[in-house]
């Protein structure tokens, strides 16, 4: 079997890459992609812990299900907002949306 | 263990012994066997399309008062082969500034996604991958087919192709909802998501228990395949063939094959989920018989699809979306709730008793829906008569969802 740490380290790397994407990208959709990577890393963590530590319980799986649902809700609202922003600003690049100072 | 009762096991065992005899390890042999099985299924599925193309052209031809292909071979049976040779020899053209890797990946992705569905279809009793979430899996890999179309539309660097990609997203994501909801009805009735399990649970075909779910599943699937009357993604008269406008040669052929294969796969899934799959007299004793039953059932569903294709005109995009969100989805939800509640109440009934009660309720819901649809139709006609003011030439109204407009402010 695969050692537990392997999964966790891959998840940590995935999360860090996502974090880098969120902080370094300018386009809003690209930022949201980074967030998705981060949420996926969390899900790997949750399911790994479920599998290795308590496969007979359901807490990890239930947590993961909730994360899936939240991610879907977040993305749908996010993309809808981006489209609304695009209608007003003709761009969704964060640097160019600055009616108010950051 | 005879050839008739366990044909596939027999072949597999023979191959396994052959490989082991060559000195291969146990693990490698298993991998090789899976690989061979996958290649056989995929090739057969794709080869089968050759016949489907001939069949569909012939049927649609008849429906349109033509004869259809009739020059090459008896009844034009060899026509697809002639086409095949022609298309293979054609050049593959890449549009200027096309996104080349994606342009090539797109058709392959689409075809591969559809072949992947075949991995979980229980072709005969006790054979086939018994995957415990197979029903969801069929939806999941379907997503890659959608992706293939979007990629094709985007990478072609062509505005019509792009419009087609947009339409694809809207249409396929929308129709996935009623598809899944309708698919959940047999899952719920059988109490399992394994397709093999669903087939085994169908002592009474689920088309008896859930005829409306079958209808919804069929309509929504046709929309997901993007065939008439839902062929907005390739509508020749509007966006001149849509996403595959720039494709030629083998790449085009892959799309073409993928389209037909998808249609037949939908028939296959419909047969598995609602028509009892391989079930039929003698199927358990002679699995090959089960394969034939399944094939016939799938063919019947497929034929209905062709029939619809030959009969109905294309929908407008607003009609298509309204139909999905305001009609199919609520109805599918109602049916899902019906299946859950009624099935709970009928615990302990005989299969046929259970089936008939479900059928009666389905018929009742169906009658209500038809009555509602009639009333809705009449009201619309009253509110927005097609004929314009006197003296004006009657024109078709541009797409304007009246209900939505009234709501917006």
């Amino acid at each position: 079997m695969i050692p537990l740490n392997w999964y966790l380290i891959v998840a940590a790397a995935l999360f860090s890459i996502g974090l880098y994407g969120v902080l370094s990208r300018k386009n809003a959709v690209a930022i949201l992609m980074g967030v998705e990577l981060m949420l996926n890393a969390v899900n790997i963590n949750l399911l790994t812990f479920w599998r290795y530590r308590a496969p007979t319980t359901t807490a990890g799986m239930a947590f993961s299900v909730i994360v899936f649902a939240v991610a879907a809700a977040e993305v749908s609202v996010g993309l809808a907002l981006f489209i609304a922003v695009y209608r007003r600003f003709k761009t969704i690049v964060t640097d160019e949306i600055d009616l108010m100072k950051w | 263990m005879g050839l008739l009762s366990h044909p596939i096991t027999l072949v597999a065992d023979w191959l396994r012994n052959l490989f082991l005899g060559w000195g291969l390890s146990q693990g490698l042999t298993t991998v090789l066997l899976y690989l061979i099985a996958a290649i056989v299924v995929a090739s057969l599925a794709n080869a089968w399309v050759i016949f489907l193309i001939w069949f569909e052209r012939k049927i649609v031809g008849r429906m349109q008062d033509r004869i259809g292909p009739n020059r090459v071979g008896p009844y034009g049976l060899l026509q697809p082969f002639a086409d095949l040779i022609k298309i293979i020899t054609k050049e593959i053209i890449f549009p200027d500034k096309a996104d080349k890797p994606l342009y090539v990946i797109a058709p392959l992705l689409m075809d591969a996604a559809i072949v992947a569905i075949w991995a979980v279809i229980p072709l005969v009793p006790m054979v086939g991958m018994d995957f415990n979430v197979a029903a969801l899996y069929t939806i999941a890999v379907g997503a890659f087919a959608t992706l293939g179309i979007i990629l094709a539309g985007w990478s072609s660097n062509n505005k019509f192709a792009l419009v087609s990609a947009f339409r694809t997203v809207a249409q396929m994501i929308s129709y996935e909802v009623p598809t899944v909801l309708a698919l959940l009805v047999p899952v719920l009735l059988a109490g399992t998501m394994s397709l093999q399990g669903i087939v085994e649970a169908q002592h009474v075909w689920y088309i008896v228990l859930a005829p409306l779910a079958f209808v919804i599943y069929f309509i929504a699937s046709v929309a997901e395949v993007g065939r008439t009357p839902f062929d907005l993604l390739e509508a020749e008269s509007e966006i001149v063939a849509g996403f595959h406008i720039e494709y030629s040669g083998m790449l085009f052929a892959t799309f073409y094959v993928g389209d037909f294969l998808h249609a037949f796969t939908i028939g296959m899934l419909g047969a598995v989920l609602f028509l009892g799959g391989w079930r039929g007299p003698g199927a358990e004793a002679y699995p090959l018989l089960g394969l034939i039953y399944l094939w016939i059932k799938a063919f019947v569903v497929y034929f209905i699809g062709v029939w619809v294709r030959g009969t109905l005109p294309r929908l407008r995009i607003d009609q298509m979306m309204n139909f999905c969100w305001k009609f199919l989805t609520p109805l599918a939800l109602i049916l899902l709730v019906e299946a859950a509640v009624v099935d709970r109440l009928l615990l302990g009934f005989t299969p046929w008793g259970r089936g008939l009660v479900h059928l009666a309720i389905n018929v009742f819901i169906g009658a209500l829906v038809i009555a509602y649809a009639r009333a809705y139709d009449n009201r619309r006609k009253r509110e927005r008569p097609l004929a314009a003011k006197p003296g004006q030439y009657p024109v078709a109204h541009p797409p304007q969802p009246a209900a939505a407009e009234a709501q917006s402010d």
Binding site: L32, V35, M38, L46, R53, A59, F63, V77 | -
Partner: protein, 482 residues
């Protein structure tokens, strides 16, 4: 399968009532759309007020607190007090929103407001990481839309956009912390975590706390997770800003104190206490410093709300029942005062179309009662007796002094003095400067009701504070097992 008992149902009575109000709004919106523009607002505000009354009458929790719904929620005073505060805030927001163009006549607004309130009430009572995360997101996601609700206004859309980007990121970091917490201990319930985390080494626990604090810090808008706040507060529709800066922040504090004190109590307290003390000092100072320079009243109130988060952290840092009671009490007062202030701002904005501080000149002549409400609100925020804010500050700083954190209390007092300055500037402009325009500012019925009740409440809480304080004390006692 075991059934559901009475405590289970009573524990979620507020949530059920909120959902019923939301259902009523949905149905009425469906059939009466556009006929009575203010009807939806009255339904939402009235329904929430009624819900508060019903909850207080029937759903008072037991003093000891009780775990319900299989450990998902905790039925106790801490949750209950916060739930009442959130519902009050939502009711006031509905009152103030119903006259705003593009906002008050839309059923979606009230649905999202109620969904967000539902999330907050669950945040206050969540006793499990799964429930907690979901509740936080249920609060945030509708709030993103609310902040960007007024489409024709570019600033509003921009506000929602920024709020979403920061919110999504910080909640993902927090969630990662939760996942590690679950993985390292194998537990998701806060009570079980309390014992399970003691098996972990200190740096690991502190690392997890830092990850979690990113999310909580975002919700409570403390430094260094504050920089979304001014932009979002400025751009969002004014009633939404009022709600966002009060109820949402209060919800953040509710989970902050519950999670930190329940799951990381005991020997870990001093460590995160020190982190929070540092954050508190920086937050207060930075919030007040920036607030002075603002020309726009919404932005000014945004920075002031950052500063208030700093004051409230003092109470958390005190790590005593007195401190937490102070936080709860202060949050209640702050919610009343700040929503009143934003109510006035919304009214003036509706009449004049601006939110610049200079445009408030002569407000006392143009709308004496409005100016009075503004005065009550701002004086309470600045901590002047006899208003509620004063009492709250006394308790917060007193708690710090009683735990030998006098230096922190002194910084808090100094900051309050600085804050007094910019609040008084606004009042000076409103009362002593000549009117910018001759016309009176029209005040509609809903505002009259809302502002009267809220301003009276601010005064009442400041004078007769004992009953309210006893509620706050009961809430705090839950965390300290008294």
């Amino acid at each position: 399968m075991s059934g559901i008992n009475t405590a289970d149902m009573l524990a979620i009575l507020p949530e059920i009532l909120i959902l019923l109000v939301a259902a009523a709004v949905l149905v009425v919106d469906l059939f009466e759309r556009g006929k009575h523009p203010r009807l939806l607002g009255w339904i939402a505000a009235g329904g929430l007020t009624l819900s508060i009354a019903v909850s207080i009458a029937y759903a008072m929790p037991p003093d000891k607190g009780q775990i319900v719904w299989g450990g998902m929620l905790r039925y106790d005073w801490l949750g209950f007090v916060f739930q009442m505060v959130f519902m009050l805030g939502a009711a006031a927001t509905a009152l103030f929103a119903m006259d705003i163009e593009h906002l008050g006549e839309r059923g979606e607004f009230y649905i999202l407001l109620l969904a967000s309130t539902l999330g907050m009430t669950l945040m206050a009572s969540a006793a499990d990481l799964i429930m907690l995360y979901l509740a936080i997101e249920t609060t945030s996601i509708p709030m993103y839309v609310l902040a960007g609700f007024i489409h024709p206004d570019r600033r509003s859309v921009e506000s929602g956009f920024k709020y979403l980007l920061f919110g999504a990121m910080s909640s993902a970091v927090m969630l990662y912390g939760f996942s590690l917490l679950y993985g390292f201990t194998g537990e998701t319930s806060l009570a079980a975590l309390a014992t399970a985390v003691t098996h972990l080494s200190l740096p690991v626990v502190l690392g997890i706390i830092v990850l979690i604090l990113v999310g909580f810090g975002f919700k409570t808008s403390v430094v260094p997770f504050h920089f979304w706040a001014p932009d979002v507060y400025e751009g969002a529709p004014t009633p939404v800003t009022g709600f966002l800066s009060t109820a949402s922040k209060a919800a953040g504090f509710a989970v902050l104190v519950r999670v930190l004190l329940t799951a990381f109590g005991g020997s870990y307290m001093p460590y995160w206490g020190a982190i929070l003390a540092a954050i508190s000092v920086v937050t207060m100072t930075l919030g007040n410093t920036f607030a002075i320079a603002q020309k726009d009243i919404k932005r000014m109130l945004a920075y002031s709300s950052i500063a208030h988060a700093g004051y409230m952290l003092i109470g958390v840092v005190a790590l005593s029942a007195l401190g937490i009671a102070g936080v709860v009490f202060y949050l209640g007062v702050y919610l009343l005062s700040n929503i009143t202030a934003f109510g006035v701002v919304a009214m003036v904005e509706r009449a004049d179309g601006t939110t610049g501080i200079a445009d408030y000149s002569g407000l006392s002549k143009r709308a004496p009662w409005l100016a009075l409400a503004l005065m009550v609100a701002l004086l309470s925020l600045s901590g002047t007796p006899p208003f509620g804010g004063f009492v709250g500050k006394v308790w917060l700083f007193g708690a710090a002094v009683s735990k030998n954190l006098t230096w922190l209390a002194i910084i808090g007092v100094l900051n309050s003095v600085v804050a007094m300055y910019y609040y008084l500037v606004v009042l000076k402009v409103a009362y002593f400067d000549p009117p910018a325009k001759p016309e009176r500012v029209p005040v509609s019925a809903s505002y009259t009701v809302g502002l009267t009740v809220l301003a009276a409440a601010v005064l009442l809480v400041g004078i007769a504070f004992a009953p309210w304080y006893s509620w706050a004390a009961k809430a705090a006692a839950v965390l300290f097992g008294m």
